[in-house]
Subunit: 348 residues, 2 copies
């Protein structure tokens, strides 16, 4: 833990003072879901494993880890302190997004938490609160935390494995995009990257404008559009994935899996960049780079057959093309190439 945080939390009880059982007693009550939640948990915490309903005879599963100083800083250059609540929320959001990207609904999470002995108990309680709030406020009404594991380590590490159900439907893969399909986006793109740039800047967090602060908040507590994934599946999406590494990289993944070219609409890219222009200007950077390279909003990139009415939450941002002779799969930003010169025809 950085010296600064250690000083800030001095004299607060740390996890070193509690047994694993005592720490679990602090955490479990904070993981209870209440109003409006259905439960898929047939057997919850307290045994060697949990038992979760898988009503259509299949379960979707993904796993994701956040590590201190890699995926988040406890103290950012702009003075923002990452809270346990932020880390818990982001763990929920990232994992829920992976289930969303298959067109599925999340049913359960199990959490493995590695904590340095000097971690304040209150920070861990906040993490549990953030996990619960993320699940609830993002609308994962069929999901709850069914169990977990606690251990010590030299750095904070939070791993979540998340389960989901397709309710009898087919999973939407990355590989199904076909020439002529419409490329569509759900959720924001580049906002979390703007937030990251502000966190890494020397602009004090308490001097940010409300719009800038919203970018920081989205970086710390992403808001994946959880209704959009199952809606895309129902509307006949041919391919879909979570934008976790940016339109360019994730677009290339879709292109490669489907063996097609992904063409981004230049006018739509410019509109998306316009939303980021004031923050980009303040930092003296190009907001278009956030649009193409920023991923942690956890929006969805999906393709639909031409003529299909896009489900709520999606807007068209491009199209899918067949590969020409000697052309490999990739992301075509031809318009930008002509205007700007800064982008390769195929971005690698």
């Amino acid at each position: 833990m950085p010296e600064d945080l250690r000083n800030r939390v001095d004299r607060q009880p740390t996890v070193a003072a509690l047994s694993e059982a005592e720490l679990l007693e602090r955490i479990f009550p904070r993981l209870q879901m209440t109003d409006g939640h259905t439960t898929s948990t047939l057997l919850g915490p307290g045994d060697d494993a949990a038992v979760i309903a898988a009503p259509d005879g299949r379960t979707v599963i993904s796993i994701d880890t956040q590590v201190q100083d890699q995926d988040f800083r406890l103290l950012w250059p702009n003075g923002y302190h990452t809270t346990g609540f932020d880390v818990g929320w982001k763990a929920a959001a990232q994992n829920l997004s992976d289930i969303n990207a298959m067109g599925a609904h999340a049913t359960s999470m199990v959490v493995s938490l590695t904590l340095p002995v000097d971690t304040p108990v209150s920070w861990v309680e906040d993490l549990a609160d953030g996990l619960t709030a993320g699940i609830r406020e993002l609308g994962a009404t069929r999901c709850s935390v069914a169990g977990g594991d606690l251990g010590r380590g030299g750095e904070i590490s939070v791993t979540v494995a998340v389960l989901g159900t397709l309710d009898g439907g087919r999973p939407v893969l990355r590989s199904g995009a076909r020439p002529g399909d419409t490329l569509a986006l759900a959720g924001t793109v580049g906002h979390a990257a703007a937030g990251l740039a502000l966190l890494e800047s020397d602009i004090p967090v308490d001097t940010l404008t409300p719009a800038e602060r919203a970018f920081v908040d989205l970086q710390c507590r992403p808001r994946p559009p959880l209704e959009a994934g199952p809606a895309a599946r129902a509307a006949g999406a041919t391919a879909m994935l979570d934008i976790s590494d940016g339109l360019q990289r994730d677009g290339r993944r879709l292109a490669t899996a489907s063996n097609v070219a992904v063409a981004l609409d230049q006018a739509r890219m410019a509109q998306l960049a316009d939303l980021l222009a004031p923050a980009a200007a303040r930092l003296g950077v190009d907001g278009a780079a956030w649009v193409l390279g920023g991923g942690e909003d956890h929006g969805l990139l999906a393709t639909f057959p031409a003529g299909v009415q896009l489900p709520p939450g999606f807007t068209a941002i491009g199209s899918i093309h067949a590969l020409g002779t000697d052309e490999g799969p990739g992301v075509l930003t031809a318009g930008r190439t002509a205007d700007n010169g800064g982008w390769d025809h195929f971005a690698h």
Copy 2:
């Protein structure tokens, strides 16, 4: 990474030299299951999430993390270097044991791997080999690795989430033991603890006797009895759990969950300790402490109605008693109390 290992692996390629995609290309081929394996994986690595069969409409799930310098040392005091193979095997074994303890068969694993940048690529390849070998050699013939996540960190951390199926049966909980039940053990107990004591000793690893080396091997690569869990369920086990923290602590968990007293048979405890006597004598310790306190063999502790023929792999080691007036649930080692004086009537 300790200086010693860094020197040993100097000039070996490290993970810093590879992209995530390149490292995954090294790992995935090593995770393929071949002969004699059925697959429960309907959709494997390559998309945002995997899809696993859950034939009876439920899935069992558990999660477990191993962290460098907490759960294993890369270099032990006796000179033994923990291999990637050991860590991969142990990750498989620990997680398979949790599924076994519910009376279920494992169907799938997802793995999240956190690696310092100076980790040798070969060490990570060994880890993948160990994971695969553990699944195969322990007999988890319906299980394979369906996906995962790779990231950087300051220390090696390996998290596995494991899924399982009860094939339509009931899960065997910790809470079902009844007065009059027979207490039974499957697998070894205390052997891994003996191995840990040898690893932590100054007896050079290359001077160990074959019996001592077998204890070290069991600590590094546990062998949970995977046939025993489902067999116990089929035979009508009333309660069961994985012995991960020792007969005393795990026995107390079973006693507390079932609100009974767990009585360990003194003669059987002595027989179990006899197997450890030569190693205990060499280290000048009491092998009985390994029997009562050693857990990492990942054997099973189960209870069966009196008169039930114990399934293969189980032997009786005690019995379940109703609580007397003013008596709390716990582990009764009355015989040892009388003979030895070293043990409380109820061990806490």
